[in-house]
Amino acid sequence: MGWQERDYDSIPGTYVFDGKRANPAYALNKLLYTLNEEHCRLEFAADPEAYCDKLGVKGEFKKAVLEEDFLGMLRMGANIYFMAKMAIPRGTSVQDAGAAFQGITTEEFIANLQKRAEGLTDKIKSRGDYWNG
């Protein structure tokens, strides 16, 4: 028996972090989790390949880590919060990652976020019972 289909699998452009991602990407996420510790960060930075071997990160997963291919890592099941521990200190914010997913620049990604909140203060004013500055 393989992984069962879930209703959230039909949400477009979305990779819900469940068993079918957490299971195959376990070693990858474990490597990312160790980066909470300063001594692990130093060990990883000194020899990324040896660190992957030590943590059992192999094949395509290892390739993505060594190439700092954050997009590829996410698609293979890296959890976004765990991946942030590797990406953010290397200059890739979650907004950079979001932009890369859509093939747009980070500036465009941020501008789109702003657009989604356009007219907000008027909307809040019309509701009446919200603090509005």
């Binding site: 990312l32 521990k85 979650v94 990652a97 859509q102 976020l113 909140a117 509701r127």
Partner: protein, 281 residues
Amino acid sequence: MAKIIGGITSSHIPAVGNAISNNLQQEPYWKRFFDGYGPAKEWLKNARPDVVIVVYNDHGLNFFLDTVPTFALGCADEYFNADEGWGLKPVAPFKGNAPLSWHLAESLVEQEFDITMCQEMKVDHGFVNPIRALYGDHEIWPVEAIPLAVNTVQHPVPTARRCYKLGKALGKALESYPEDTRVVILGTGGMSHQLQGERAGIIDTDFDLECMDKIATDPEWFANLSNTDIMRIAGTEGIETIMWMVMRGALKDDAKVIHKHYHAPISNTGAGVLVLDNEAE
């Protein structure tokens, strides 16, 4: 007897911590967001809680994927923050209240919420940033704090209704605590945002405002939403808003709305503050 004075909700976006550390609260990007906490701070000053119970999710600081508890309660004397891998300076440790925590654990298990008990629990931005936004930074925090972590990271995550029921059980647990302890519940996280996938960048201000209104006055509406409904509209990380329901469940049905504040975007996220007074007539 312990008394639930009220509840506050707050988003817990990492960038909020950076803004506080760098004193950016009055910069144009941040001003409206932080100013909206003013009435919540005022209320809190008068409410004088001894303890805040902070409902939040861990983002891979304390819990790895080897063991993912659905609900985990801090039962320690002290809770430490850490740099989360980003090299940030941790904030001062938080004093807990172990006797109250253990009472809650006993009562929750008695009420069939089989909670995970943690005698060591590192607390990340999810726990820390709402406290910092409400109290400012301190070397010795002016309130005791108890972490209550909800899994919103690895699915299956609990439903909004399950969180609401946990809140009701938490309310009962507090009511049966014999000490005269004043408690405020902080429900943190959300609101709409999605960090991952081609759909990253979701913010739905209409849905967020609807959620704030309904969680305050008609929580059944939110309890009826499935996790897929919430993720479809509010994004995969928007699922965190279910944690507001733990706070809501702990309060009276007719708790009075004191303050509502909403701002977007902060980072990738819609950010809401709700203050409910449990004692106001």
